[in-house]
């Protein structure tokens, strides 16, 4: 059971749409700037460009007018994360041709990646509540729920199959893709829309991440100097990114019936726990996720061409991930291209796994592995990082990692469409 990826969408610091993301990846342009949300926000971030709902939907003119009208009605007074999620989902919907080669609404499922999605919104409503509780908007009861994403997107897209959110801290994106793949494998749906939700953190949640030492901080002697990318010796923690991304999975049979081409295939996946409540990454857990995902994809490490690392820029996390890669890939570790898309678009938390799966498919399609701009002093020079410029290489098989607080490690394996048959004939018996 190897579902096809049939649609991609993204609204990120690179701009609206996957074409904007592809350009940023290809050119290796970091979208990280100093204090993009003002002096009270985090010192560094990869912020969305200024965006209206009309702007997010403008590129979707090929979609039926009735669908766009539903989107307008549902979104015009909605919080930004919902507008951005709909922008990404509608793009993927159009790419997957679910508007003109439709499936029964009951056979489409919706999985939203991320939890604790409404902290910023809830915090912003506190002033109204404090002045007069009776004046709190009735929309609060809906907008304060993570599942508002599920309700809103399903209303716009007319989805009637199963729908829910999946939470796994920064591993949420991969975990959502895994749950989507299971819905297809169990026959519960023919296609599943997976949406990574834009992180909308409150100031108290941000400060919590600052106080645990997770976020990139200013240097006292050079406060405006941007932090180096993940895997650099001088990394300082993660840089928050804003993005919503969408990936649509469909069973191979259903995609064939609808005559929709596969952009990639999901070959395997694994998620494991460390049995730990801490923000303490472990070599064993990360290695297990990668090894199991490769085994389920029936791939040997030597067949792997690219790893989209979790690579958050965490001082400990990046070193642990390299050690885990060495353990999981054996002798192949130094031959496989490795980068972290967080170097360009920041760490989009619950959406990260979906955005990076989208970026991985774009790189497989485009025949390149994006650069890590500013990677002057890699932690370990025996790994193969594209540094100043993208590596031009048409990779067949890629692995994408997402790790989360609470000992959650997850990996997925994606393949070029035409690599699938080759993989079966060359497969290594696990």
């Amino acid at each position: 059971m190897r579902p096809a990826v049939v649609g991609l969408g993204a609204v990120s610091a690179a701009g609206v749409g996957v074409d904007a993301l592809t350009a940023t990846l290809r050119e290796g342009t970091s979208r990280i700037t100093a204090a993009p949300w003002g002096p009270d926000g985090p010192p560094f971030g990869a912020a969305l460009p200024p965006l209206t709902m009309e702007g997010a939907l403008a590129a979707r003119g090929a979609l039926p007018a009735a669908l766009l009208e539903r989107a307008h009605r549902a979104l015009r007074r909605a919080p930004l994360p919902l507008q951005v999620a709909a922008g990404a989902a509608l793009e993927a919907w159009e790419h997957a041709r679910l508007h003109d080669a439709p499936l029964a609404a009951e056979r489409i499922a919706l999985v939203v990646a991320g939890s604790n999605l409404t902290g910023g919104y809830v915090e912003a409503q506190r002033a109204v509540f404090a002045s007069n509780p009776g004046h709190l908007s009735p929309r609060f009861a809906l907008h304060s729920l993570d599942t508002d994403h599920v309700g809103t997107l399903s209303e716009i897209l007319g989805i009637r199959g199963e729908g829910f959110t999946v939470g796994g801290a920064s591993a949420s994106g991969n975990l959502a893709i895994i749950q989507a793949s299971r819905l297809l494998a169990l026959g519960e749906a023919d296609a599943c829309v997976v949406v990574g939700a834009l992180p909308d953190l409150s100031r108290i949640e941000l400060q919590g991440l600052v106080n645990i030492g997770a976020m990139a901080h200013r240097l006292p002697d050079a406060p405006g100097r941007l932090p180096p990318p993940p895997f650099d010796h001088d990394r300082r923690g993660f840089v928050l990114g804003q993005a919503s991304a969408c990936l649509i999975l469909e069973t191979a049979g259903s995609a064939r019936r609808r005559q929709v081409p596969a952009l990639a295939h999901l070959l395997g996946h694994a998620a494991v726990l460390d049995g730990s409540r801490l923000a303490a990454p472990s070599i064993g857990g990360e290695q297990a996720a990668m090894t199991q995902a490769l085994a389920r994809a029936e791939l040997a490490p030597a067949q792997l061409g690219y790893v989209s690392a979790h690579g958050s820029g965490s001082e400990l996390g990046d070193s642990i991930e390299l050690a885990a890669l060495r353990a999981a890939l054996g002798d192949s570790f130094s031959r496989v291209w490795i980068n972290s898309t967080k170097a360009l678009t920041g760490h989009c938390l619950g959406a990260a796994g979906v955005l990076e799966a989208v970026a991985t498919v774009l790189q497989l399609q485009g025949g390149f592995i994006h650069a890590m701009p500013g990677l002057a002093h890699p932690i370990d020079v025996t790994f193969r990082f594209p540094r100043g410029a993208a590596a031009r290489e048409r990779v067949e098989f890629a692995l994408s990692n997402s790790f989360g607080f609470g000992g959650i490690s997850s990996s997925i394996v994606l393949a070029q469409p035409r690599a699938l048959d080759a993989a079966t004939t060359r497969s290594v018996t696990p």
Partner: protein, 79 residues
Amino acid sequence: MTDDAILQVLRNQILAILPELDPAEISLTRTLSELGLNSIDRTEVIILSMEELGLAIPVHEFRRGDTLAGIIAVLRRYT
């Protein structure tokens, strides 16, 4: 405050939520549902209007299916 003044407050809030609506359609005999507002929109019109009028009336005082005249009558009882 006159009924007309309160109607104007309601009308402005309704149009903020459904800008495509013809203002002339918003008359005393219509219900909010008839004008195309969903359940959340209806409560929001009432709460935003209360906020503008400096009122805080429990929302259960308003009945589903009230005409605008009915809503105005409840608002007036508290002014």
